[in-house]
Symmetry: C2
Subunit: 274 residues, 2 copies
């Protein structure tokens, strides 16, 4: 690998205990992978390495990786899954998209459906949205009492600590796009007939609440970037750079986990295939 | 596409109501994709087309595709998933591997866990093994009473008919390898240290029951290849040919489903992204 993933990670990570200063973070990230060609090369290398490491993770069957993707509409959550995880494929990666909760889900606490979707040992799980919606849309639209929402940050931290202490490594990425970039992407959904179905008039309602959403993101970044599960704010206006950054961090984290093929407790020469 | 998927399909399909004649079917399939290079080209084209069609399937959100992969140990079920569905990626494809049932699963009827894993509308689901294990290993090893197993063929046909009448298209593939090919593949797991973990001494026990397994397969092919969910017996000694055949049939079936991007009931020009 030609890139320094630790430096990239340091640039996008929200240091636990420090303010995230979301508004001061740019959406371009020109210093990280300045050249598109090199970024695409790095993505390719990392995606291949992630695939190989996942095979070892599966062989080991003792730990899991959970990648959480959060971001406003059009921020590129689906595109990230394709770009970073298609090489790994559906055999090693499970994606769970969290939409509006069902009646049954609402009949439980908000972490219930999330816990059920945690990847099993050996797998990489990707959350397309997550329990953080319960301090985002729920907060901005007032779908739960303010004091209940206020308690959730600590509850989420406790839940994630529990997971990390039980073999699940968490990587949380906020895909950070600018208001202008969102305008262009929403407009493209209107302009391209084959993309019309992706456009939801309610997206415009959410867009009017841009500042409220950014404030809610800032609060969760400030309060839920922990030592066991820090947040990364990824400049996401450029799709190719977003993918390269996330792939580099996922790859680096998997390398640190260092999954290994298990040693067998028998001698291969003891067996003969007749 | 340069290949004729209908001809390929006809060659591997078990005609409903006819005997499968499993023992007469070869594991090479030299007539189907005689040239490796052309097979790999076809696989690439089909995988890309499957990905595009799955996007429409998702946009439509009214039907699902269920691909069932069955085959003895080392027959290449995982490899098929990677070869045919990695282009589509984990966003559009869910894989469910059915292993030994858990206590909770055994506390229900054998189709209970299978029904829960049926892909939701818009998705492609892949079963790595399936309810057919309940007339394979269960039969060969006598894990259920013979008269209960005898009833299962009709139960499975009814279940699959129900699914097909409710928007799920089923494609069932038996990966057909020769006894000699299995020997080589098992031996390779012993010879390559990094593959040792894949070898399970019990695989040799199953291998000793080769004829019993083949007979059980023949019975289920004879009795469960139906108009709504026919079986395909895929020559699988050559991995590249196996992948090309399956991709061609999955692609052809998806084209026949002809999923289309939904038309929206509003005019794009009525909206402006501020």
């Amino acid at each position: 690998m030609t890139h320094d993933w630790k430096a990239i990670d340091a640039a996008v990570r929200v240091e636990p205990g420090k303010k995230s200063k979301l508004r001061a973070r740019d959406c371009i990230g020109a210093d990280l992978f300045p050249e598109r060609e090199a970024a695409e090369e790095a993505l390719k290398e990392c995606a291949k390495a992630i695939d190989e490491l996942q095979d070892r993770l599966w062989a080991e069957r003792s730990r899991a990786l959970l990648v959480i993707l959060q971001g406003i509409d059009t921020s590129g959550k689906d595109g990230t899954v394709r770009g970073v995880f298609n090489k790994c494929g559906p055999l090693g990666v499970n994606v769970t998209a969290f939409g509006k909760p069902s009646e049954d889900e609402l009949a439980h606490d908000y972490l219930w459906r999330v816990h059920m979707a945690v990847p099993k040992k050996g797998m990489i799980g990707v959350f397309n949205r997550s329990h953080y919606e319960d301090v985002l849309v729920v907060k901005v639209r007032g779908l739960a009492p303010a004091e209940a929402i206020e308690q959730r940050y600590a509850q989420i931290n406790a839940f994630e600590k529990h997971l990390s202490e039980n073999g699940v490594t968490l990587l949380k990425f906020m895909l950070h796009i600018s208001k202008e970039e969102q305008r262009e992407r929403l407009q493209a959904r209107l302009d391209e007939p084959e993309s019309n179905w992706k456009f939801n008039p309610s997206d415009l309602e959410d867009r009017k609440l841009w500042d409220e959403y950014q404030a809610a993101y800032e609060t969760l970044l400030d309060r839920c970037s922990t030592a066991h599960a820090p947040w990364r704010v990824v400049p996401a206006d450029k799709k190719w750079r977003r993918n390269a950054i996330i792939a580099a961090i996922v790859h680096g984290a998997l390398e640190e986990m260092a999954p290994a093929y298990p040693r067998v407790d028998w001698r291969p020469s003891d067996f003969k295939v007749e």
